[in-house]
Amino acid sequence: MRIPVFWRALLRYPLWHPWQLGLTVLGIALGVAVVLAVDLANASARHSFELAMNRITGHATHRLVGGPQGIAETIYTQLRVERGFQLAAPVVTGYLPDAERPGQLLQILGIDPFAEAPFRDFAADLSGTDFDLRTLLLHPNAALLPEALGAELSLKRRDQRLTLHRAGILRGAAFEGLIVTDIATAQVLLDRPGRLSHIDLILPTGPTGERMAAELRAWLPADLRLEQPAERNRVTADLSAAFSLNLSAMSLLALMVGMFLIYNAISFSVVQRRPLLGILRALGISRSELFIGVLGEALLLGLAGTLLGGILGIWLGSGLVHLVTRAINDLYYVLSIRELTIEPWSLAKGVALGLLATLAAAWLPAREAADTPAGAVLSRAHLESRWRAALLRQVLTGLILLGVGGIIIIFHSLTAGFTGLFLLILGCALLTPPAMVGLVWLNQPLTARLGLLARMANRDVTRHLSRTGIAVAALMVAFSTAVGVGVMVDSFREGVSIWIEDLLNADLYVAPLSVADDSERSGVLAPTVLKALQDMPEIAAISTYRPIKIEFDHRPLTLIVTELAPASQAGYRLIAGEASTAWQQFQTGEAVLISEPLAYRNQLTVGDRIELPTEQGPHTWTIAGVFLDYGSEHGRILLHRSGYERYWHDPAISSVALFAAADTDLAHLRTALQQRLGVIQPLSIRSNRDIRGFTLEIFERTFTITSVLRLLAILVAVIGVFSALLALQLERAREFAMLRAMGMTVQEIGGLVSLQTGFMGLAAGLLALPTGLLLAAVLVFVINRRAFGWSLPFQLDPLLPLETLGLALVAALLAGLYPSWRMARTRPVDALRAE
């Protein structure tokens, strides 16, 4: 097959310059990979969530749910025997840690096989020979286990280890991390005698179902609710929407960096071949042929890069999914499925990004090359002068983008926040080349004194603005992202640690050791333990706590029922409401304190009234104050125990905070408590330092994903700066040969290259600082506030700018090494002749 000369001429160039070809493809691949990885991880988490919900919900159309202790099993009996309700299935569910694999939680799903058939489909995956119903029902440690877990499984329950034996195999990926037992077994494992987690129901659709639902509601005791699981799942899924959005934003930042990199790589490869394109034009290749040719080549490069990026992205994504899952587990609910779901939609997005960004990046230079008269194309000077002429337009466009971004941010929505943020970054990126010209100009007096080499290096940057401008802008965006996200995480950490420091001011915290890791339910301190604590002379004051989950405005939130010692009260920082009156009102039990996220989301403030569902129907409380809280983005409400006991029949206390009397040896007190009370009930006694450490550890775990993404952005930036500068310097081989021929030494050329790349790296780093701080401010004050409802302090680690500058510089200098080394090895004659 004969390939037309034109195509051969176009394609030969990259083949003869494998370094540049490789760097271009790598640039595209990195951009695609980061975006794809984040997207895949996000989608996998969402997918696992849906699977987890579906395998529990099954075909149930409704669900009976109860208070903090679930539902009494007698309700189920009444439902079936007295009301003759047949399509009902009891469920006892919770989580227990795997004894063999620390950190892995397994979901126990206790069901009644006799009621199960219409509800869940996992039974369909049991094959007859593997399944022993008799054992499942009668043996206290029998369970249906996923194939991967083997025939025996050890779980941790308090300090005990208990082994479950397989009575049947659950086949299929949907059952990973799920253990199905008889309901009796689940009650024992999860320590819920007499209780059910919920009752699943199937009601017919249409008026009959509505009538039945109405009848059921009329019959139900006040503390039970009839819910539709689809609704509940949606609410739970919403919980993580903010988190998911944040991740998506990170991936969009990565996308932005990726697009700049792709743009840089492609436009460079086109710009670099302007002489060739000019010759082709002079030889009679038409404008449109040239245009299509350049685009076609870019498309080929884009395809190669996208393919590589896809592979890289999937590999990266499988690592990220663990981090995402862990963050979700810490923050929201337990997800035990940790496999990467490769969604076609995510892949499509990655491919579209790779190809479109490539085409977009090639479009302008190709257009420009095709439109320029043949003679002018041959001249670099023509291009550079056009670039410089466009500077003013760039400045204007950049400023307009900044203005529009700033205005959009004011609109009160998260999406507006993100849109504004991206416009700001784009504006800053556009302002980068003009800013570089400015920097060069500022640099002139300095370089004037440093000699010819420095002057050359400095002026060269603006002379090659068509190449350096985009490269530095890409680097600037990458580094500013790193700065912005870094500042945000630091600010968050600072906020949380101050908050936790204030809040945890008691000496010791006592709670029953819980059997199951289950956020739905907290243990109950034995009344004798409580009494003993109150009678101890070493203990000066006690605060009691009882967190229960309630629903408010279709969101689950935590009601903290408490009696606070004055010192504990001081730990809550009120951001609205006058402290003394607020606490006074709070003591009456008819006023509550609400957390900042709740106040922000529902636009509540001091003096407003809030209606909460109680066991005796809805009741309204006055809001006496708003406290700073990073404990839950969904909000928390503080209610005095006296008020709680008026509307709930629940004398239980879940945990207490102890203030020791003066001169008490805390370590001694802790041992004494464990010895004296541990025999009554297994207790977890922790100091404030333990809990603080634990909280911050969770914080760090949650933000690992963010830090990893930040590192990825930096990595992409470093590789970007390296490849861009490397390509730039390699292109100038002939120019350097000329300088060599004119008498410059190898060292001098090396110095010139290093100075130049160093300057560009430094410029990118310097320009990234203001942009990064702007980004951080938007993230801290706008995005976080709107996504989670809390206000954060702005915390700038002084090392961060230095770190950024350092990284930019090192990457830039590294990029200068290879061209210098190559230059030194090449005889100038060869380099000159090569053209």
């Binding site: 007295e82 047949q86 009644d112 509800f119 007499g194």
Partner: protein, 382 residues
């Protein structure tokens, strides 16, 4: 009465099948004979000798035996002569000989299964339902004082002191029964003073007693309509640990109430080789309640045609001729409607029948219930 001799194993298979196949998928057919082949009877008490019965205690459960049932059937009609047949059977089945660790109220080795059927003879319709439950947390169970056997809202309940008057209530969807049953004849001990041998092996027998004629009044609800009905019911009580031998493949069972006041129970066990089983037996109950045991060679039972279920393809006899020469009885038993197949986890035919024939020179009529297990494919109906 053999009823449906479900063993624990059978129930396990039943539940397994049920558990496997949610929703309205067709249920796998289970060969009853093979399901009863490999029973583990160790640890259970056996019906291996005649015993003395004590009432009302024996109306209640006998958990040390593996299987037990309270089996009610009846023919009813409303004032306008619209006729119905009904069946409500509550089975107790032990999954193990000894109780499991009592670690949760839900843990129980006693399982309950219920079958409920209504035949609307005038409407030509038959409705059959089944339920399963464990005998725990009040979902299902059996007790003596006051007498009560229940599975969800299917219930047999006596008064504080006695089983009668017995109230039967069952509801499924828009079909419901609420009946009150009273004795008109004394209790009948079947077989050898209540020991009913089913196959050669010692212990392959049940303790078996019946109330063959119970006056019945109450209401039947069918869709939006309610019927005030009266008629006669039959209660069979049986408990056992094992019954059939390996050579037996199924059975046909008759519970007939003749209009001269006599009642006839006869079961015919089918052997795989087609020969008559010497364990076939029956009882003829006189008007005054006195009984006479019918031996296998006293009753000549002949099938009349065959009926193939259009739903399952299973074959059953379409009717029967029963001759008892010693009693000068020659009876033809005809189903009130052909399709009274119980298409539940386990398939069998159980339905209301009409009796016509001669007692000596007199024409005789009657009603009753008939239970048949399906014939194995390709075996002649005989």
């Amino acid at each position: 009465m053999i009823g449906l001799s479900l063993t624990a194993l059978l129930l396990l298979i039943a539940v397994t099948v049920f558990f496997f196949r949610p929703h309205s998928q067709p249920v796998e057919r289970i060969a009853v004979g093979s399901a009863m082949g490999n029973d583990d009877t160790a640890g259970y008490r056996r019906a291996d000798a005649p015993r003395s019965f004590h009432f009302p205690v024996d109306h209640g459960p006998h958990p040390e035996f593996r299987n037990e049932w309270w089996y009610l059937t009846g023919n009813l009609a409303d004032a306008s002569g619209r006729r119905f047949g009904y069946q409500l059977t509550l089975f107790r089945i032990a999954l193990a000989a000894t109780p499991p660790v009592a670690d949760s109220a839900w843990r129980s080795h006693q399982m309950y299964m219920g079958h409920f059927a209504l035949t609307d003879i005038a409407g030509g319709q038959h409705y059959g339902f089944e339920r399963f439950s464990r005998g725990a947390v009040g979902l299902a169970g059996a007790q003596t004082t006051p007498f009560r056997v229940w599975l969800g809202d299917w219930e047999l309940a006596g008064t504080d002191v006695n089983i009668f008057p017995l109230r039967l209530r069952a509801r499924e969807g828009d079909i419901a029964l609420d009946l009150t049953l009273n004795t008109t004849k004394p209790l009948v001990l079947q077989g050898d003073q209540g020991l009913s041998q089913k196959s050669a092996e010692r212990g392959n027998a049940s303790y078996y007693y019946s109330y063959t004629r119970l006056s019945t009044t109450g209401t039947i609800r069918l869709a939006e309509r309610s019927f005030t009905v009266e008629g006669a019911s039959w209660l069979d009580r049986e408990w056992s640990t094992s019954a059939l031998g390996p050579d037996q493949s199924g059975w046909d069972w008759f519970a007939l109430q003749l209009d001269d006041g006599r009642d006839l129970m006869f079961y015919r066990l089918r052997r795989k080789d087609g020969t008559l089983d010497p364990h076939n037996a029956g009882t003829l109950v006189a008007t005054d309640g006195s009984t006479r045991v019918l031996h296998w060679d006293e009753v000549d039972v002949q099938p009349l045609g065959s009926w193939t279920s259009p739903h399952t393809g299973d074959r059953y006899s379409a009717g029967w001729r029963l001759r008892i020469p010693t009693e000068h009885l020659d009876l033809t038993v005809t189903p009130t409607i052909a399709d009274q197949e119980m298409r539940l986890t386990i398939h069998y035919w159980e339905g209301a029948v009409m009796v016509n024939g001669r007692a000596g020179d007199q024409a005789i009529h009657g009603q009753g219930y008939l239970e048949m297990t399906r014939y194995e494919p390709d075996t002649p109906i005989r």
